[in-house]
């Protein structure tokens, strides 16, 4: 069992005591309780601190074949390494701490196969947004998803984490990718990963884990990555995703009255006019971070876009962990961002959920690399557009939703 402070931690002034008295008390209680019970704790002053779904894999705590739970719905992220990982509520967390186990029914299983070559500009975020748009926000209810196919197999572990992370946005509590050589290479040498003889034993076991070639699934879904484009959300559910080349949908074109009412409500909240090209939507603020997209590869992708350019609206980069931050700084990414006028902050969940006070202002429109565009998610009456780090960086330098491909290759 490990603990970290992520949702409530401030992303500035980390040398000083936490300004918010209540949060300071919560952190102190967590520090004390973990000490008393001998639980590994990565607190705000520890370089290894960060978003729980970033640090688990980073520390090698997340391993193929384990059952991993956390009191957070984005726990499926860890499925990228072939773990059965899912989010639970606080009563279930209590149950696990008291008993080491949980009562579970075997979920139904769905395989989402993505094949084809991703065109230039199509990131893992675009892949998962496209999958969710296809499944619907409730399409995966009652299922654990296996993401398979050549496109997924060709992804790095960090990219697979972005995909698995948003499984819950398609209704599935768990999402996973079969472990392979990419997984083993990622894990090897990490602090909590097995070493020596144990590594060899673990590896033998891990190689038995992938689904059999003739495995049967309750549901199969297939998508072609070759048809995908950089994607943004326009509404208030992650399923409301379209290629950046599209226009704001017109509710009058929907024949289903419930769907029509849903689109109307979403457009009303989002302050969008049907038929407007998405690339004409002006944006007020950019957030690059969250358990979906705050790892080193994400920050590199964003830095490649802003390098040599200037942000024209307020933009933040919040690294996923202290170690991600340090690695990014070693590559000079922090200087790329700050030279472009982008704010470089301390690790945490930050503006994905705003529980630490990192919130947008009412009416603001935010381009965000996080996972939820729900009403009020980033602040009361704040409008969220989800997208990849490269796409969010493109918004930072143009001030509107932008097709990153139009800015050319880095």
């Amino acid at each position: 069992m490990v603990a970290t402070a992520d949702h409530y931690v401030p992303t500035v002034n980390r040398g000083a005591p936490i300004a918010d008295e209540e949060v300071r008390g919560m952190e102190a209680a967590l520090d004390r309780a973990t000490r008393e019970h001998g639980i590994t704790y990565f607190g705000p002053s520890d370089t290894r601190q960060g978003i729980v779904h970033v640090i688990g894999p980073e520390q090698g705590l997340t391993q193929p074949g384990i059952t991993l739970i956390c009191g957070d719905s984005h726990t499926a992220t860890h499925g990228a390494l072939g773990a059965l990982a899912f989010g639970i509520g606080s009563s279930e967390v209590e149950h696990v701490m008291a008993t080491q186990c949980l009562w579970q029914r075997k979920p139904k299983v769905m395989r989402v196969t993505v094949s084809g070559v991703r065109p230039f500009g199509v990131s893992a975020k675009d892949v998962i947004l496209s999958i969710i748009a296809s499944l619907g926000a409730g399409g995966g209810i009652g299922h654990a998803i296996e993401y398979a196919g050549a496109t997924i197999a060709g992804m790095s572990i960090e990219e697979r984490m972005t995909v698995c992370n948003m499984s819950i946005e398609g209704g599935a509590r768990a999402g996973m990718v079969a472990p392979d050589d990419t997984t083993y290479a990622y894990l090897h040498g990490r602090p909590f990963a097995p070493a020596g003889d144990l590594w060899d034993r673990a590896l033998r076991y891990w190689r038995t884990l992938p689904s059999d070639p003739d495995a049967a699934f309750d549901r199969e879904v297939a998508l072609d990555a070759g048809e995908m484009a950089p994607t943004v959300t326009w509404g208030t559910s992650p399923q409301d995703a379209l290629p950046i080349t599209a226009r704001v949908p017109d509710p009058s074109e929907s024949s289903d009255s419930v769907r029509r009412a849903g689109i109307e409500r979403a457009l009303g909240y989002m302050g969008l006019v049907p038929g407007t090209p998405l690339t004409e939507v002006r944006v007020d603020r950019v957030f690059i971070g969250s358990c979906t997209n705050s790892r080193l590869e994400d920050l590199r992708a964003a830095a490649d876009v802003v390098r040599g350019r200037r942000a024209v609206i307020p933009a933040w980069v919040v690294p996923g962990s202290g170690l991600v931050k340090r690695a990014a700084e070693a590559e000079g990414l922090d200087r790329v961002f700050t030279a472009a006028g982008v704010e470089w902050r301390e690790p945490g969940c930050s503006m994905c959920v705003g529980m630490n006070g990192d919130l947008g202002r009412a009416g603001e429109r935010i381009a965000s690399t996080s996972n939820r565009n729900f009403e009020g998610r980033q602040g009361k009456d704040v409008r969220t557009h989800l997208m990849s780090p490269a796409m969010a960086a493109a918004v930072a330098v143009t001030g509107r939703l932008t097709d990153v491909r139009a800015l050319g290759r880095a």
Binding site: I88, S90, S91, G138
Partner: protein
């Protein structure tokens, strides 16, 4: 945990699909303790104006729906965040039974830990019941766990499925931790075996 057996009460229809738990209780209230005011956080930002007054356009502010103890929703009700506070806010308000074509998996799980029942009904049945509740505001209906039936305002009875283990726990108001701890010896034996088979899992 308070047992759940039979509930006959006013029901409120919520027609919006994919109602997320951020809407049910915004994140800024998650640090608040579960005092007598907890029900105020339920649906806060769509239920109240900035000055704290009620928004008449929100159905729970309209009598007699404000007396609801049963909520009939559309698909994927309470999706998104795992926050158990969504169940706490609903039960603090007094709503203990939820009927919908589908629920967020974690919410459905959380209900069972708090003496609340999430009933899955076919989409057309749920839509028909919501329609009846709009047509006859304040209509009562019954959710009966022992017989696994819902009686709609029009008197029609609809059967539903429920996990037998969950049903037993709800009927008895069983504390799951105590139940699991009665298997402590088996759990300890598993831990030993698992540690031998997979010593790399710290």
């Amino acid at each position: 945990m308070e047992p759940f057996t039979t509930l006959t009460a006013v029901a409120v229809p919520i027609d919006l699909p994919n109602v997320d738990t951020d809407r049910i209780i915004p994140a800024r209230f998650l640090r608040r303790s579960r005092g007598p005011d907890y029900e105020r956080y339920l649906f806060h930002d769509v239920r109240f104006r900035d000055d704290g007054s009620e928004r008449e356009d929100f159905i729970l502010n309209q009598p007699p729906y404000c007396q609801a103890r049963i909520l009939v929703a559309a698909q994927n009700f309470a999706c998104g965040s795992s926050r158990e506070a969504a169940v706490w806010a609903l039960t603090a308000y007094g709503i203990r039974a939820f009927l919908a074509p589908s629920f967020g998996d974690i919410f459905a799980q959380n209900c069972g830990k708090n003496g609340a029942l999430a009933v899955v009904l076919p989409g057309d049945v749920a839509a028909r019941i919501r329609r009846q509740l709009h047509d006859r505001p304040g209509a009562e209906m019954t959710v009966d766990l022992p017989s696994q039936t819902v009686t709609a305002p029009d008197g029609a009875r609809h059967e539903f499925q429920v996990d037998p283990f969950l049903k037993e726990c709800l009927l008895r108001g069983q504390d799951e931790i105590a139940l699991t701890l009665s298997h402590a010896a088996a759990i300890a034996a598993f831990e030993v075996r698992h540690g031998q088979e997979m010593p790399w899992v710290a």
